[in-house]
């Protein structure tokens, strides 16, 4: 078995003791005879954002869905807050790449849907939903329908829905891949704010090296099938820097380059 080598990208000072919100223990998943994940072990520290980065088809979505409880691993197990995962639960919320909004329901109902399923009374859940709709910047669109919104606004609805159920862990599968570049940058800044102010653990799948370095506390680089963690990078120092100038920061650029160096051999 290949042990993940932990590489401190920035400083070698010991990390503060963090407990893990989510732990994946030797998780394997095969689809028929496709081995999507093999013996993958990874820890997700509480309150931090961990990115899963890797070439297409390496099993990022698979891992995220296993953590969500939407898929069963072939072997191995996932622990959330110390308890093994047997299915979806209120401690995790999913943000979908294609938004997964109900087109027949208003923004308000879409955002409140997680609470609706839990049987929260209408007035209460709508009050909560309204708060998060305002938080993601969609005030005034409560009664719009998804088809009346732009892609970026739809993903804000998806985000508000995930936030309104107040889960400990937010699972995001390429949430910004279907929005334009400007919106995407705004989203990345908003995401950094969220990580700072909401005491939640974020697991974030992305294709973009720059995006991963920009938003992550920890980046797990997955290699193609059968997938495992090849490297873990913690751009700890970057998190204390000014986000406005981060994209020009030499350290930022170095980390982006080194990740590209280790991934490029897998990209034809």
């Amino acid at each position: 078995m290949v042990m993940p080598q932990i590489k401190e990208a920035v400083d070698t000072a010991a990390l503060p003791e963090t407990d893990n919100a989510v732990v994946a223990r030797s998780v394997s998943k095969t689809y028929g005879d496709v081995e999507a994940l093999k013996n993958l072990t990874l820890e997700f520290p509480r309150g931090q954002l961990t990115s899963l980065l890797g070439p297409s088809g390496c099993g990022k979505t698979t891992l995220l869905k296993i953590i969500a409880g939407l898929l069963k691993p072939t072997s191995g197990e996932i622990e959330v807050n110390g308890k093994p995962v047997t299915g979806p639960g209120p401690d995790r919320a999913f943000v979908f790449q294609d938004f997964a909004l109900m087109p027949w329901a208003t923004v308000l109902r879409n955002v409140a849907f997680g609470l609706e399923l839990r049987g929260v009374a209408r007035s209460e859940r709508e009050a909560i939903a309204e708060k998060y709709i305002a938080d993601v910047g969609l005030k005034g669109f409560e009664n719009s329908y998804p088809h009346q919104l732009s892609g970026g606004m739809r993903q804000r609805v998806g985000l508000a829905r995930a936030l309104s159920v107040d889960a400990d862990v937010l699972l995001m599968d390429e949430p910004f891949s279907a929005v334009d570049e400007q919106t995407r940058r705004k989203f990345q800044e908003d995401l950094l704010n969220l990580v700072q102010h909401e005491n939640k653990t974020f697991i974030f799948v992305t294709h973009s090296i720059e995006e991963a370095v920009y938003v992550s506390d920890q980046i797990a680089i997955l290699l193609p099938r059968p997938s495992r963690v090849s490297e873990i990078i913690r751009p700890t120092d970057l998190r204390h820097k000014n986000t406005d100038t981060l994209r020009r920061d030499p350290e930022y650029l170095d980390i982006v380059d080194s990740i590209w160096a280790s991934l490029r051999s897998y990209v034809e």
Binding site: A100, P103, L117, Y145, R161, V165
Partner: protein, 250 residues
């Protein structure tokens, strides 16, 4: 529609055919086609009479009950077939068979099984309507976006909640299309039932008028029936248009 640059009113093709009908009737080519004006006069004289109203209510009741069962059984069965491969494999051959089967030939069997009363007529009506509702619902469920189902699941929806909060609504445009066609078939079913099983309702009127060569009466009742079926189907088409805004964006 426009003709020679003029915009024609909505029902102009109907008007044209009404005119043709009137001319053919006036020419007295066949007793089978009396002039439309005569039919309309008969219609107004018949429509308030108590035999007519009794027939209307008998037919309407059987029709409503038959459609009701077709809808409340057909939609859940269609959703289950769309959701579960197993149920689909089990039921699909039967649904396809009954969809194209000459159901009229089954009516005598139904009479043996369920007697000569209302029950058999309602079952006949249901049998005419239900298959297309099942098939359309199934088609609607099959094209549901997977991630919408995963979304419901990940936010903790029970199977029942997923059923009526996601599957039903996501498939609603197709379901309404199926119900609209099913309703038209149900009209056929209820009349055939009332002709073959027990001579009641509009079926009895048709029988009476046809046997006595009262063609103006015959056509008058047929026009009433057509108007009723047309209204129900237009109402469902209206509902379909109401939900079509999201049919494209699922």
């Amino acid at each position: 529609m426009t003709l020679f640059g003029y915009r024609l009113p909505a029902m102009s093709s109907l008007l044209l055919w009404a005119l043709v009908w009137e001319i053919v009737g006036q020419l007295d080519l066949t007793f089978f086609v009396p002039p439309l004006s005569e039919v309309m006069v008969t219609l107004t004289s018949v429509i308030g009479t108590s035999p007519f109203l009794k027939a209307l209510s008998e037919t309407a009741q059987a029709f409503a009950a038959g459609v009701f069962f077709a809808v409340v059984i057909g939609i859940p069965v269609g959703i289950l077939m769309g959701k579960s491969r197993l149920i689909d494999e089990l039921l699909l051959p039967w649904v396809n068979m009954f969809l194209s089967a000459p159901l009229t030939a089954l009516v005598p069997v139904l009479m043996v099984l369920f007697g000569f009363g209302m029950k058999s007529i309602i079952i006949t009506t249901t049998l005419f309507a239900i298959w297309i509702i099942i098939l359309n619902t199934r088609a609607g469920v099959l094209q549901i976006n997977r991630s919408l189902v995963e979304m419901a699941h990940s936010y903790g929806a029970s199977p029942l909640q997923a059923f009526y909060k996601i599957y039903f609504w996501a498939a609603l445009p197709e379901i309404l299309g199926g119900v609209r066609i099913g309703v038209i078939r149900a009209v056929k079913g209820v009349i055939i039932g009332q002709l073959l099983i027990s001579i009641v309702g509009f079926g009895a009127l048709f029988e009476l008028y046809a046997n006595n060569f009262l063609m103006a009466h015959f056509w008058a009742v047929l026009i009433v029936l057509f108007a009723l079926a047309f209204s129900v189907s237009e109402f469902l088409a209206y509902l379909e248009r109401r939900v079509s805004y999201y049919a494209a964006s699922r």
